[in-house]
Symmetry: C2
Subunit: 501 residues, 2 copies
Amino acid sequence: MKKLGVIDLGSNTTRLIVMAYEPGYSFRLTDEVSETVRLAEGIGPSRMLQPTPIRRAVEALHMFYSLCQSTGVDQVIAVGTSAIREAANQAEFWTALREVTALDLRIISAEEEAYFGYLGAINALPLHTGALFDTGGGSTQVMAVRNRELTQSFSVQAGVVRFTEQYVQSDPVSRADLRRLREAAHTAFAPIDWIADLSDGKLGGIGGTVRQLARIDQKMRHYPLERVHGYVLSREAIERIIEELARRSRRDRLQIPGMKEERVDITLAGAVIIATLMDRGGFSSLLVSGQGVREGIFYQHFLADQPQPLIADPRRFSVLNLAHLTHYEPQHCERVAHLSLSLFDQLAPLHGYGAWERELLGYAAILHDIGISVGYYDHHKHGEYLIHNATLLGFSHREIVIIASLVRNHRKGWGELAPYAPILTPDDETRIARLSAMLRLSEYLERSKSQIVRDVRVQLGEEIVIDILADGDAHVEIWEASRRSGLLRRSFGRDVQIRAA
Amino acid sequence: MKKLGVIDLGSNTTRLIVMAYEPGYSFRLTDEVSETVRLAEGIGPSRMLQPTPIRRAVEALHMFYSLCQSTGVDQVIAVGTSAIREAANQAEFWTALREVTALDLRIISAEEEAYFGYLGAINALPLHTGALFDTGGGSTQVMAVRNRELTQSFSVQAGVVRFTEQYVQSDPVSRADLRRLREAAHTAFAPIDWIADLSDGKLGGIGGTVRQLARIDQKMRHYPLERVHGYVLSREAIERIIEELARRSRRDRLQIPGMKEERVDITLAGAVIIATLMDRGGFSSLLVSGQGVREGIFYQHFLADQPQPLIADPRRFSVLNLAHLTHYEPQHCERVAHLSLSLFDQLAPLHGYGAWERELLGYAAILHDIGISVGYYDHHKHGEYLIHNATLLGFSHREIVIIASLVRNHRKGWGELAPYAPILTPDDETRIARLSAMLRLSEYLERSKSQIVRDVRVQLGEEIVIDILADGDAHVEIWEASRRSGLLRRSFGRDVQIRAA
């Protein structure tokens, strides 16, 4: 395993992520540290970085570098964005930095920043065509995406620290300030006339402000998942948050559930910037990305031997990544997947499901035993927990709930779905029951984990008759699968008979 | 990593466990399969194993052996106990077995069975002196333990299948049958007059019946943990369960929460056997062991190069085992432990805690970051989850809740303790708050994971002044620790000042 540290010095926050990885094969985040250094604080129209923000930034970078050095990080990549890029007194910053640390910081252009943000998000979101944006402390980047390719990008100094300092002087914000803020955001995005062409696609949002808005909306809605990445944030939800923030003083905003202290002042400007951009492009909702510039830089290293650092199939990749990290048994899991999909195909006349359900069932089969890495007992429940807390790329929350539920149900019992009502559709209960039943039957046909059962042949009549094709004596498997066929019977409403072919 | 499979063919159940391990260093359970084969079914006074039970047993053994072969198990140890040991027609069993599998099954004596059960339990329970018992389908073994040494053992044919077949003919059980059952149990344990000498110690119980009783009692009490190992089961609780079982028909017993279908018939006899043994020894409660003969055989292999297969310090061992399995960072964790314990010692005049709390704090420090193996975000919560679901040896449930809570609180926030009220004492909330505060401060003094902060010097006055001894510039750490000192201040009721020495 290699370890890469990526540091991103923004205008509001500086962050370190440490990724442990085997190139092209598997990775996991092992450290993340974030400091609100507010490098752009007081920068004003003269674009002079102020001594205190410089000191805070340099200290944070020094700390991050020390952390990398003492935790066995092989390589550190550090980049600086908007605030430092545009500073009139860069030299002062460099002097301060070099006094305390040997860290090699590189200033990246707005185009590079857009590209890395795109790379981070495009590898992680279910978004093929549409637009991405990355709203930071000093600027917002907007990227056009067609078939996962970056076709155009745009950068404007509509950053949350900058706009807050320029337009939000009153507390609570005055109507005049709010109007000026909206106008400034409107002006900022006026040039991107190409964005309207992308409104058939999706909009993906990167950055701390988007995550903050998502967290507030999730709390308001009593959303059942902790996951922010992949969350769908509606334009109306952002408007509600703007109203809530505008009505309150800074102090009072801390009472809003999910509100982070270090963002009480800047989130209003951020929400207005994002809402205005959505209106400009005609998007009624956005997909929140938990990954951005730092992860983009990581992917460039992780996939260095590819022509482009794009994961061809992020869903499949991240499922296998999770399986590798939790030491799955490939032969057993692949046979369970094969049997599950064979049942799925042959039961198609009864369930009528398509490629989407088939794909999710296959993933659940690969992941069904990963909970053993937590503890053998109740490993179906641990597997559900691991899936809900894993980095999974390119999935919607609904898909993650379905996969986790199938894993939960793969041995016995039934995972309650009521808590996930805001995420699932009414027919998902039947869908989950039927897919779980196929997975469970396949698991018991692999009871001895010996790949004795090669395949199944299904005959559909008044009852479902399943003939077992085996390499050897499979009567223990047939007996076990028969005992566990109740869910299949109930979910399809037909008797089930399992017998040797 | 090596893999050992251990199979135990009992009179009621046959079970396989697979342990992956590095000898003497680390292990984890990777598979467990259990089949209720009821080998002793219909054995009667002539001691003839019946053809159907033989077939069921042989099939299960064959399946277990296939599983071992195809999942890379290096060595399989299979042992047979009471039913097969005493069978008049062993030859028939051997013929049937050899027809289907090459598995090498060894019949162990009652003394060996007692020894392996002792080994499994003594390495896993907080029990130094007292008695252990292992109630199976065909017999019960009782072992005397002094200073963790097995000093005496006793075996009697008081098994749950045997007693059920002999004494429980009515359904619901008649008063006469229940009386005969109690008398038979009484007679069975009459010879062990030495057990009364051990009633100052603890009683530990092994076997499926004890676990079943614990599960029912936990459900009746709405016990907050899923963990059965280490659960304290009182004599009164067992009496309540006996009454509940005696009142109901077999069918109705399935309605008792926690009752396993395959144990509805035999649990009454088991409960009476165990209750009678407790009365014989004067024990008002017992400690449930989740480990027994199989784990004992495993420990013999795992610790093969020791004179005796006893883990010297099971608590410390299992904490480090969990740390290894979850890829902890030793240098960082050991420094956090050192700082936590230094704070603990110097704050002693304020908290008055002793060696017990100090030990738990040290363990929490070792384990504080293990949740990162699940996912970086919210890793304090994942760590709590992992601890609640890990194999931890020699701890009480209260101790596990405390360690898990410290890990939960090590970064931020506060884990609700109300659900654990049945396990904790009223002063544990303060205890957990104070210990968490020390751990949290130490974690932030190790913010850069670079071991810059060497130690702390605490002065106690109207406020708590903590001087930081550092190898290098520690002002980021001091600043961070100061920001996170709120819990320390609140839990000790004094202001806190942290400064460079």
